[in-house]
């Protein structure tokens, strides 16, 4: 085994500290070797970790801009899970069978859990959940623009599971390799749980596409409407993306918006064919040379409007979130009161 100088230094250092600490000469704070490092040293150390494909963990030093960037992306992801419950939740009482209802309920419950994983993982960066929720409700923080579209028919629920969760999975698989440790680990867990979401959606839409002519038309209509906003989920073109280059450099993002979008299109086109539906975009065509499907241009004006609050349901989604939060106040109050009562009781027993 090869020992380099730093390792030997480190071992020596530990021995000395150990000796000193046995005499009670040092407290834990003083042992913190990193305390006196300069900003430049810390930054170089951080960048080395990124270059070496090491994860950044909560207690590690990180540039403020990295922290902010990860908080922005993770909280946006968490908000999307939570707001995303609304369009599907609207169909819980109207699902066409008990089986479909149980499946949908289970999926919506999963999304709530995913929101929890992500909020908790974001809290490791020194922001608390109340702050994140306040930012969501004030409009300062964003969530995936797709959830600002309404779910008009039952076929929309199938199309969302298949396309929206499908697009999210493509993105989340790439994020399993993100540089922030808690984010990467939550993505692994979420991807595992998410695998049923896409399949249940496809199964539901397949049933519609192979049902009566009216049902098939509903499936086609859902595909036509949900296809484009699903492509927008990957964000602006790489050249126009505000946060992309820094996020890629810090390995917060691992694959670019356009590359992710292309792989989503490539995987979805054969699935549309199996459904027996028409392509939602007449320009979709296999390009032998590129080895990918070509497709039409996205309506970026619409994307911009929906992100900035003018989508069909932006107002409704946030209003519903605020109402639900307010109506849930009695639960939080009960929890607080239980906590106080219990502490009081414990004090009395101790006294």
């Amino acid at each position: 085994m090869k020992y380099n100088d730093t390792l030997i230094d480190n071992i020596l250092y530990k021995r000395i500290i150990l000796l000193l600490s046995r005499f009670g000469a040092l407290s834990m704070q003083v042992i913190d070797k990193n305390a006196n490092k300069s900003y430049e040293q810390e930054l170089a150390n951080f960048e080395q970790k990124i270059a070496d494909e090491q994860k950044i963990e909560p207690s590690d030093w990180m540039p403020e801009a990295y922290r902010k960037n990860v908080i922005r992306q993770m909280s946006q992801h968490a908000h999307s899970e939570i707001i995303g419950m609304q369009p599907e939740g609207n169909w819980l009482t109207r699902a066409p069978s008990l089986r479909r209802k149980a499946i949908l309920l289970s999926k919506v419950q999963d999304e709530a859990g995913h929101g929890l994983y992500l909020y908790s993982a974001t809290e490791t960066l020194g922001i608390n959940r109340s702050e994140m929720i306040a930012a969501l409700q004030s409009g300062e923080a964003k969530y995936a623009q797709i959830f600002n579209y309404p779910t008009l028919t039952w076929a929309d629920v199938g199309a969302i599971g298949w396309l929206v969760d499908g697009a999210a999975i493509v993105n989340q698989i790439s994020l399993q390799r993100t540089s922030y440790g808690p984010y990467a680990r939550s993505m692994v867990r979420i991807c595992k749980e998410e695998s049923f979401h896409q399949r249940q959606g496809y199964e539901a839409l397949y049933a519609m596409a192979h049902g009566t002519p009216v049902q098939k038309q509903m499936a086609q209509d859902a595909l036509n409407r949900i296809w484009w906003p699903s492509l927008m989920m990957f964000g602006p073109h790489d050249a126009d993306s505000a946060h992309s280059s820094q996020s890629m450099a810090w390995k917060i993002k691992r694959i670019s918006n356009d590359e992710l979008r292309q792989s989503f299109i490539d995987q979805s086109v054969p699935q549309i064919e199996v459904l027996g539906l028409e392509m939602p975009d007449p320009e979709i065509k296999w390009n032998e040379e590129r080895g990918h499907y070509d497709s039409g241009e996205i309506n970026w004006q619409e994307f911009k409007e929906v992100v900035n609050g003018a989508g069909p349901c932006n107002y409704q989604r946030i209003k519903h979130h605020k109402n639900a939060h307010q109506e849930g106040e009695w639960v939080r109050e009960a929890v607080r009161s239980y906590k106080e009562k219990r502490a009081k009781k414990q004090n009395e027993t101790a006294a």
Binding site: K14, L18, S21, S27, M28, K49, Q54, K55, I56, E57, S59, R99, A102, I103, S106, G166, G181, A184, R185, S195, F196, Q198, R199, Q200, Y202, E203, Y206, Q267, P270, Q271, V274
Partner: protein
């Protein structure tokens, strides 16, 4: 001779950046700070870890394994929570 029993601390080690902390064992200590030092001296003598957590055993609230069936419903009657429940056409690969 007086028998003295110090508090037990559970030790968790992160073997590498990016991995979860994993429970590796426990030790006795007179304070959390000392538990951390003892864990360092004892559990990562061969570069087994990059980060240590210690927590006093009494601070861990645990489920009872004998009660697990009542406490955690395995939801075997809800097979639709698993991806394998959905039968898709053979031509659909990797979904």
């Amino acid at each position: 001779m007086k028998q003295e029993q110090l508090a037990i601390y559970e030790v968790f080690i992160r073997s590498n950046r990016g991995l979860d902390h994993k429970h590796v064992g426990s030790l006795h200590a007179e304070s959390p700070e000392h538990a951390l030092m003892y864990a360092r001296d004892c559990y990562i003598r061969r570069s087994e870890g990059v980060s240590i957590w210690v927590v006093e055993s009494t601070n861990i609230t645990a489920s009872e394994e004998s009660d697990i069936e009542n406490f955690v419903d395995p939801m075997d009657d809800k097979p639709y929570r698993h991806a394998t429940h959905y039968v898709l056409p053979d031509s659909i690969k990797n979904m």
